[in-house]
Subunit: 338 residues, 2 copies
């Protein structure tokens, strides 16, 4: 039985999505026990009015937590028993196999850094994100691509980028069942000489490593298209690109709403397109995808979106179980040693 | 009479869009003479079958040029009389007031750097781009924002970013008639402490300069929204973001086409929305906007898109005339001295 330590506190909507998400999972035929780390009394109260399997849920009391708007390091210094730190310690001591957090992203990364070690060959860790793409990926036709780093390591050396490429490829292979995921370096042109010094050096190193399906540089254009399975970039750029993708989905929605208000003909047209638009919305609302890993630690860590619904938390917990089942950490170690 | 030196060679479609664009302008009541720099015989042959006002067009023979796929510096070394260099020399010697190029972007920047000086306080120049935004800008409700740098200076110091902010604000004020354009630094969070070292230092410097309407950091989300009039970033990031905006417009088009093929209901809906979609397409097809400046030289330089139509070249020439009329270079000098 896989054990997932879920920080139940600190998501945008508080305890509800995390506890209800774990309750949902407990009723499914998945071999996972969830340790809900948070305010035990409040968690019990929520569970009392929610269908769940008590044999598959445990509670670890940790009423203090890091709020979304707090500076992570200072908050963790001030509250050494904050829920995310307690959850991380359960994973460090092998009482649980994987850490799952839906709260303050910086706090998840800092708590992991204080509790776990980095894998050999990893100087800095990478926060991954999944983003919708036009082209499907892998044998299941996944409409999502993987991008890393999106904010854990703002400025990267060439070595960092190479490690991110290896880890991203390994994760994509294990979790999306893509035999040899294609990996691209995000740059300002496709030629090997294009980009910052770190990008150019990383390109040279990746081009000569036969174990990866390195597709060379990709451009901004290629991210929404999904030309590669894994996009590698430094955290500063990745964060901006990711937030822009979110912005474009919102912009499309606003535009549709605006058209809706103006003309009868447009209203009719939009009504006819409704289910098509719903499908687009579904694909672009990848916050419901579940979560994405933080790669580089000697423990598995899944970050779920702060605005997760119970269903999204359930999906993040399923993903967490999958990473343990498929041996993410030992596989990462192997791919870094190549 | 303002004189614009137009590099007539090197656009994707060759001489035709540049020569026809200049011919179009020559028939309008605008006080501009265009010097067409390129293969004189070919230009004359094109003009012979195009309506134009010969008093408003001149030809400077320069049959050699830089191709789109060439390395700019090497190509200019090999061809010291390439059309873009001849055009730049006309502006350097004051035989023309403004340089306009629709060819290889790197060649335009290099030719300008070899022929002009940089303004005092400018270590590196910035290539600007206009991009469509949801929110309108200025008194005319311009649906475009300005972004710089998008590729001239890949890695920027804090001083570079501050100079870009001053120049972008000045350009936006002069050309878009915005009294105090709002300026944002593109970063991975809105707090002043977010971003790379250069961003954080530039933020501190801009926050204390009263002459600018500095709106703080903006995030990826804010670019398509158009939260500020001028987005400042280093060229590496700007180039990726710009190409992604282009990619998203293409993706939306593909999606519409795909929906078109699938269901009768969708086909009907799209037909009803047709004119609305055309409007979106028009707004997003900002390649037809005309051009954007390269800022930081002691001469005015306008870069038109390589895929420009005659109408887009005509618009770029109008824009070039406007920058001269409104005294862009002396105004930039003043705003850099603040």
């Amino acid at each position: 039985m896989i054990r997932a330590a879920l920080d139940a506190m600190g998501a945008d909507a508080g305890l509800e999505p995390t506890v209800l998400g774990a309750a949902l999972l407990s009723l499914e035929p998945v071999e996972v026990t969830v340790v809900l780390v948070g305010d035990a009394a409040a968690i019990r109260a929520l569970l009392a009015r929610t269908p769940h399997d008590p044999k598959r849920l445990e509670i670890a009391n940790a009423p203090e937590f890091v709020r979304m708007d707090e500076k992570p390091a200072a908050a963790l210094d001030a509250r050494p028993d904050a829920s995310i730190l307690c959850a991380a310690r359960l994973v460090a001591s092998r009482e649980a196999d994987v850490l799952v957090g839906a709260g303050n992203t910086g706090a998840v990364i800092h708590a992991a850094a204080r509790s776990f070690s980095r894998l050999e060959g990893v100087r800095r860790v990478a926060l991954c994100a999944v983003h919708p793409t036009l082209e499907p990926h892998g044998p299941k036709g996944d409409p999502f691509g993987l991008m890393l780093d999106v904010g854990a390591t703002l400025q990267c050396s060439a070595e960092d980028l190479v490690a991110f490429a290896r880890m991203g490829s390994c994760y994509s292979r294990l979790v999306s069942d893509i035999a040899r995921p294609s990996v691209g370096l995000l740059s300002n042109g496709s030629e090997p000489t294009k980009g910052t010094d770190a990008i150019v050096a990383a390109h040279a190193a990746l081009a000569s490593s036969a174990d990866l399906a390195f597709a060379g540089n990709v451009e901004g254009l290629d991210v929404p298209k999904g030309r590669v399975d894994v996009v590698v970039c430094e955290g500063f750029v990745g964060n901006i690109v990711l937030k822009m993708l979110e912005g474009v989905a919102d912009a499309a929605r606003d535009l549709a709403r605006h058209a809706h208000a103006t003309k009868l003909r447009y209203r009719l047209g939009l009504a006819l397109l409704q289910s098509g638009l719903e499908r687009v919305r579904e694909v672009t609302d990848w916050k419901q995808y579940g979560g994405a890993p933080i790669l580089g630690f000697d423990r598995a860590v899944i970050k779920a979106h702060g605005r997760s619904t119970p269903r999204a938390v359930r999906n993040a917990l399923r993903l967490a179980a999958k990473t343990v089942e498929r041996g993410l950490v030992p596989e990462l170690q192997k791919s870094l040693a190549c």
